[in-house]
Amino acid sequence: MAKQHTTVVGYEGNTQSIEYAIPENETGLWGANFDYSIVGKKNIPRLDAVEKVTGKAKYSYDINRPNMLHAVVLTCPYAHAHFEVTDTSEAEKMPGVKSIEVFDEGGKGTARFAGWLIAMAAAETIQQARDAARKIKVNYKVLPFVIDPDEAMDDASPRVNRGGNVNPPEARARDRGDVDQGFQEAEVIVEGVYTTQVQTHSCLETHGCVAEWNGDEVTVWHSTQGIWSVAGGIASGLKDLGLQQNNVRVITQYMGGGFGSKFGPEPFGVLCALVAKKVGRPVKMMLDRYTDTVYAGNKPGSKMYVKLGAKKDGKLTAIHVKAYNYPGHSGGSSVAIPFMEHYDCENIRIEEQNVMTNAGASRAFRAPGRPQGSFGIEMALEELAMKLEMDSYELKAKNVSGTTYKAVPYELKLGAEKFGWKEKSKKHGSENGKIKHGVGCAVTFWHSTGQDKGASVRCTLYPDGSVEVANGCQDLGTGQRTMMAIVAAEELGIDVGFIKVSIGDTQLGLNGPASGGSTTTPTTSPVVRNACYQAKLKLYEKIATKWKTEASDIDCKNGTVFSKSHSDKKMSWKDAAAMLRNSAITATADGFTKPDVPGSNTGAYGAQFAEVEVDTETGKVRCTRIVAVQDCGKTIAKKQAESQICGAVIQGVACALYEDRIMDNMAGRQINPNMEEYKIPGIKETPDIETVIVDVYDPVVNTGGKGLGEPPAIPTGGAIGCAVANAIGVPIRDLPITPDKVLAALQRKEG
């Protein structure tokens, strides 16, 4: 049975009332008119903060099991080679060694980058395992390789894989409208080639796991963004041993950063479990920093040939992009969305290809393809503004439009006000003096689609008033536990202190989403609500009998359960729960129903403003200030959301100014596979960041929550790039913007 509801949606200055229907056992939207007591308030501490600041939080890396062995992997030092493990006997005889295993059948295969996994040694101590790994004999037949993507495109270059290096051989094209017509209508055209670097994820906790068997059952503590995909992968990887997934338990209570690089069991996860079985002892294998950096993923670089057509007033008429993405030896990427969706343009053509090289494979990295594409479109628009001698904010504002659920014009305007754009903006390159200041802005967009069948949540109410909310998801540091507790507390009308959140364990038997694509909040939060709603109705039924009323007449707010019709009938949450005596109430909700409301969308939008200081003598750029305006639908955990936005911005600063995987094209290896020469910003590189969170009430899910991990990580690089162009009057089209590039650009400008 569906039930009709009404609610108010939209954002400040643009709201409307809507009607919608959802099934009776699900709860309706909170919406803009709801009297929130906990959701969206700032003062809720992270649920696991005490564990984190006292060192009690146990990450996979911290799991020490009795009798545990330590393992290390051996990787190929060559960018391209046939290899064969010829002799492991010496390694096996080394002190403390319990196992030497190879990754590929027969210990042979073809390594396609320096860092290819070859073998794993397990010993009593990590030192012994390292000693042993060095004694494994491997024959290498070194093959020709190619590292530089421009070179790789040449037909005469060595082939990275079977097939050609350019994939697909004919560019994939995405078209909207008529791009030729669009350019004909244009009164001004700008063209530029923009490139972005490869960045490594450099998660502080490397990839790896601990595996332990108990009879036929294996438990794996895995540093992962998806416990279920790990469990499935371990089961299928060891099915020859007769392992089934009902005997695999994966646990991730704390996780030291993933950013898109930690899905799946990994070959060493399967091997750990295998060795643990064979030796009959638990095995820990966490990658060392070098291997993690070269093996465990990166954000692909890109080269974008961009051509924009516009009217003299700055309105876009056509966008044409030819893009090459650089995913290493496998994987692929796309920079298309920011060109197609960030600004309004009727005529677009995007052609894309991947160029393969003998380098580590790319993986998803916080908004795959988006920071790259954003840099391309924002810089091209900046150059258009320069050519038209227009204010770039005015130009950008002219090319965005909104709806009730798409607040980007509002957010751009709000950001400009908070930032003080009017006072700070000046003509490109107009400032005199050694230190030049500049400002830039950029917009963002991300579809954070909740999976309506992606989560099962169990809510248990105990007689002492305490509550457990459980789901098979994991918390990477986003504040997932806190978000779930806030939603549950709001739905139940009680304090967060009553709620315990259980996640990160497949043995809960509750399906949960992998933490990726900024989908965890929209996938889990509506189901948390539904489970709490169903559980509390069961409790209310008991109370209704006592009060001689209906469960639907009962509600709970700020810890007081009351009758809506008879205000004298009330009791505390604890007293209400005590009516359960020795039993508990459990309700499990599987997924949620998406309210069918026209125009509702899963997009999270925002705008960022950057201020930079460029030292024209040293070429050094400092980002001094960022204003980040962001919505994630209705923000649930406000304090944690702010932290996440700041973190995304800092990663954007890193992309704009610092991080760069540097390869030695002759040797075929990364020059900086560490945290010393690969520059991750520290506290001194952190700009002053102001976050402005906008609530956009969208009936997309019953909490109105959308994902936040990715959207604010998209526009920062572009905003900073534009600010640098504004400061020095010439665009730097190549990320990261390092002093050498600044000095070269200034020289070009003068000469």
Binding site: V72, T125, G256
Partner: protein, 213 residues
């Protein structure tokens, strides 16, 4: 076939680094303090001292005073303090991240001074008071920096947190009124991949309010 690479670049560095550490004892946490000149001198010193007082290879008994308790432990002389804490004593608050003195996640105090646990040989930490993040609170009473980290939400994944907290709290222990610039300096040898610096700066201000006079 010569030696195979096991995190190979790092291994080679690790060798010279540890030899170096043998010579100079433990390193203070501070960015970019070593010049090659000093390192070369220390290497010679290390080699000289190695000849007169050889211990290991193989297990050596050690006594480590950690968070007020004496631990008897057997470990190889090449094992870092961080490795012994984490792998032999299950004290896992200090984290292993770069193993090369670049990130600060392994920071512990030696006699109240923050050091990188990954650049400190366990054997050399004997006779000193070692404090890890687990020993920072007084029973249930958190250190004001820990409280401030909670209030400011200065943790995301939290993997860097023990290191930052140890350095920041050491700075305030030395100077309860340390300025924000001094605090920035004290944690400038640390990396937070989640980018939680803004909240850590907020925590620094909150902590000064709790500690400062």
């Amino acid at each position: 076939m010569s030696d195979q690479p096991v995190g190979q670049t790092q291994e080679r560095r690790a060798f010279s680094r540890r030899l170096f550490m043998k010579g100079v004892g433990t390193s203070m946490v501070s960015a970019g303090a070593l010049s090659t000149g000093i390192a070369a001198g220390a290497m010679q010193e290390a080699q000289a001292s190695q000849e007169e007082n050889v211990r290991g290879p193989g297990m050596v008994p050690m006594t480590l005073n950690i968070n007020g308790h004496n631990y008897q432990v057997e470990a190889e002389p090449r094992e870092t303090l961080l490795e012994v804490l984490r792998n032999r004593l299950d004290i896992t608050g200090p984290k292993l991240v770069c193993d090369a003195g670049s990130c600060g996640a392994c920071t512990v105090w030696l006699d109240g001074n923050p050091v990188y646990g990954c650049l400190t040989l366990a054997i050399k930490a004997q006779g000193k008071k070692i404090t890890t993040i687990e020993g920072l609170a007084q029973g249930d009473k958190l250190h004001p920096v820990q409280e401030a980290f909670i209030e400011a939400d200065a943790t995301q994944c939290g993997f860097c947190t023990p290191g930052f907290v140890m350095s920041m709290s050491a700075a305030y222990e030395k100077n309860p009124n340390a300025s924000l610039d001094e605090i920035k300096e004290s944690v400038s040898g640390h990396i937070c991949r989640c980018g939680t610096y803004t909240q850590m700066l907020e925590a620094a201000e909150l902590a000064r309010g709790k500690i400062g006079g």
